[in-house]
C-alpha cells in the first residue's frame, strides 16, 4: 500500500495569521503621504508627537514652507474644510463643496492661495507635487499667517509642530516662529529623531 503524504494541520497557523492580521488592521493609522520628504534633526527628547489637533509646519531642505492641519478627533466638524473656506474668503476665492470635501482628505501643501484650486482638482499626486512652490511667508504676502490664524480660530486646541529639515536655514525657521509668535503661539514642538548620547563626566 502506497504511503499517504503526511497531512499537516494548518489550523493553528491560520488562526494565528488571522489574529495578527486583525491586530495590524486595527492598529494601522492611515494618512495621506506628506508633500515633501523632511529629514529631521535628532535630539535626546523622548516626548511623542500629539496624536490629534496638530498643526504641522514643515520646512524643506530648500527652505520651502509647507502647512498641514488635521481634522481633529471629531471629523464630523469638518475643520479642514472650514479653515479652507475661511482662508479662501480672505483672498476672495470660493470653493465648491466637492473641492472642500476633497481637500479634507488631503495632506500638507505648500503653495500660494491662488494655486489652491488647481492643486485640489489636479489629476494625480504627481501633478500635485509639481505644484508645490512653498507657502509665501514674506512680510508683503504672509499667507502662512492667515492659515495659522484661521486654523486657531476654528480649533483652539491646536498644538504646533515644526518639522524642519536638517539643512533648512535657520532664518526660514525663524520667520515661521515669528509668524507663530505673532499669533500668540509661544510653545512649539520641534519634530526630531531620537538619538542617544554618551556624556563624559570625567575630570570636569
Amino acid at each position: 500500500m502506497p504511503s499517504k503524504p503526511p497531512k499537516i494541520d494548518m489550523t493553528p497557523m491560520v488562526d494565528l495569521f488571522f489574529l495578527l492580521l486583525i491586530f495590524f488592521i486595527l492598529t494601522a493609522t492611515f494618512r495621506a503621504p506628506e508633500a515633501v520628504a523632511v529629514d529631521t534633526p535628532s535630539s535626546i527628547s523622548n516626548t511623542t508627537t500629539p496624536e490629534k489637533h496638530v498643526m504641522t509646519i514643515m520646512v524643506s531642505k530648500d527652505n520651502m514652507v509647507f502647512f498641514n492641519v488635521d481634522n481633529g478627533i471629531d471629523t464630523s466638524e469638518h475643520l479642514r474644510g472650514k479653515i479652507l473656506q475661511a482662508v479662501g474668503q480672505q483672498y476672495q476665492i470660493k470653493f465648491t463643496p466637492e473641492e472642500i470635501k476633497k481637500f479634507e482628505g488631503m495632506s500638507s501643501f505648500g503653495l500660494p492661495m491662488d494655486k489652491m484650486k488647481a492643486w485640489i482638482t489636479a489629476q494625480d499626486a504627481k501633478a500635485r507635487d509639481a505644484m508645490h512652490i512653498g507657502m509665501p511667508v514674506d512680510s508683503t504676502d504672509n499667507q502662512l499667517m492667515m492659515w495659522v490664524r484661521m486654523s486657531r480660530l476654528y480649533n483652539s486646541e491646536l498644538e504646533v509642530a515644526i518639522k524642519g529639515d536638517q539643512g533648512a536655514d535657520y532664518t526660514t525657521i525663524k520667520k515661521v516662529i515669528d509668524v507663530l509668535q505673532d499669533n500668540n503661539v509661544n510653545k512649539f514642538n520641534l519634530t526630531t529623531n531620537l538619538e542617544s548620547v554618551d556624556v563624559n563626566i570625567d575630570n570636569l
Binding site: M10, V14, F17, F18, L20, L21, F24, I25, T27, A28, T40, P41, S42, S43, I44, S45, N46, T47, T48, T49, V59, A161, G164, D165, Q166, G167, A168, D169, Y170, T171, T172, I173, K174, I177, Q181, D182, N184, N186, K187, F188, N189, L190, T191, T192, N193, L194, V197, D198, V199, N200, I201, L204
Partner: protein, 222 residues
C-alpha cells in the same frame, strides 16, 4: 423506545453513506489563507511603530512695548553664537561696548568634547545632582515614582542659582540642525536657564573680527 434506538444505530452502522457525507464538505481554504497572508504582510510592512519624537520649546511672549532687558548676572551669563559650518563661538559675561575690553571669543564645536564640555563645567553641580537622582532611580536605590522624576528635575532647576544663564544666538547662514543641536545640548547638560535670542550688533562685529583674524592667521602661518 429501545427498539427505535437500536434501529437507528443499526442504520448508521450498516451503511457507509453517513460517514461519506461527513467527509464530503471539505472547503479548500488555501486561497483564503493566501489572502490573509498577503494582507498580513502588507500591514506588517506598512505599520510604523515608532512615532515621531518632539522637542518642546517655549519662547517668551512677544510684546510691542519696548522692554528693559532683564537684568542678567554678569558672572552667570554664557553666550553661545552659532556660526556657519557647524561651529560655535562662546564667551563669558556680557559684551558691553561702553565697558571695554570686549570679551574674547572661543571656538568650539558640537562634538562630545566641544561645547558640551564647556556647558558641563559651568553647570557641574546641577548636572551631577540630577545625574545622581537618575542613577538612583534606575538602580533602585532611590525609590520615587517614575512620573515624579521629571517634576523633581524641574524643581532642582528652579532652585539652581549657580549654573550658567545661556544665551543662544545665531549668526547668518546657520542651519536649522545646529539650532536643534544646541537646544538639545541644553537638555543633555541639564541647563536650567537658557534663551534663544537675536544676535546684536556688537556681537556681529565680534564674530566678523574673529573670522577675519582667523583668516589672516591662517594665511600668515602658511
Amino acid at each position: 423506545m429501545a427498539e427505535i434506538i437500536a434501529n437507528e444505530g443499526g442504520h448508521g452502522k450498516g451503511k457507509g453513506k453517513a460517514r461519506a457525507k461527513k467527509h464530503g464538505t471539505h472547503i479548500d481554504m488555501t486561497p483564503m489563507v493566501d489572502l490573509a497572508c498577503l494582507l498580513l504582510t502588507f500591514f506588517m510592512l506598512t505599520t510604523a511603530f515608532s512615532k515621531a519624537k518632539v522637542m518642546e520649546i517655549v519662547l517668551p511672549e512677544k510684546s510691542d512695548k519696548p522692554q528693559d532687558a532683564p537684568q542678567l548676572d554678569k558672572d552667570r551669563a554664557l553666550n553661545i553664537i552659532l556660526i556657519e559650518g557647524d561651529k560655535v563661538l562662546w564667551y563669558n559675561g556680557l559684551a558691553d561696548p561702553t565697558k571695554p575690553p570686549l570679551p574674547t571669543l572661543t571656538e568650539s564645536d558640537f562634538s562630545n568634547e566641544g561645547i558640551r564640555r564647556v556647558l558641563l563645567r559651568r553647570n557641574k553641580d546641577l548636572f551631577l545632582e540630577i545625574e545622581a537622582m537618575n542613577k538612583g532611580v534606575t538602580e533602585g536605590t532611590l525609590e520615587i515614582p517614575r512620573d515624579s522624576v521629571a517634576s523633581r528635575r524641574k524643581k532642582m532647576m528652579t532652585k539652581d542659582h549657580k549654573g550658567p544663564v545661556v544665551l543662544i544666538k545665531a549668526a547668518e547662514n546657520v542651519k536649522y540642525k545646529n539650532i536643534v543641536d544646541i537646544i538639545d545640548e541644553m537638555a543633555i547638560c541639564n541647563i536650567a536657564r537658557y534663551a534663544l535670542v537675536d544676535i546684536n550688533v556688537v556681537e556681529k562685529k565680534m564674530v566678523a573680527d574673529y573670522l577675519a583674524s582667523q583668516a589672516s592667521g591662517a594665511t600668515s602661518s602658511k
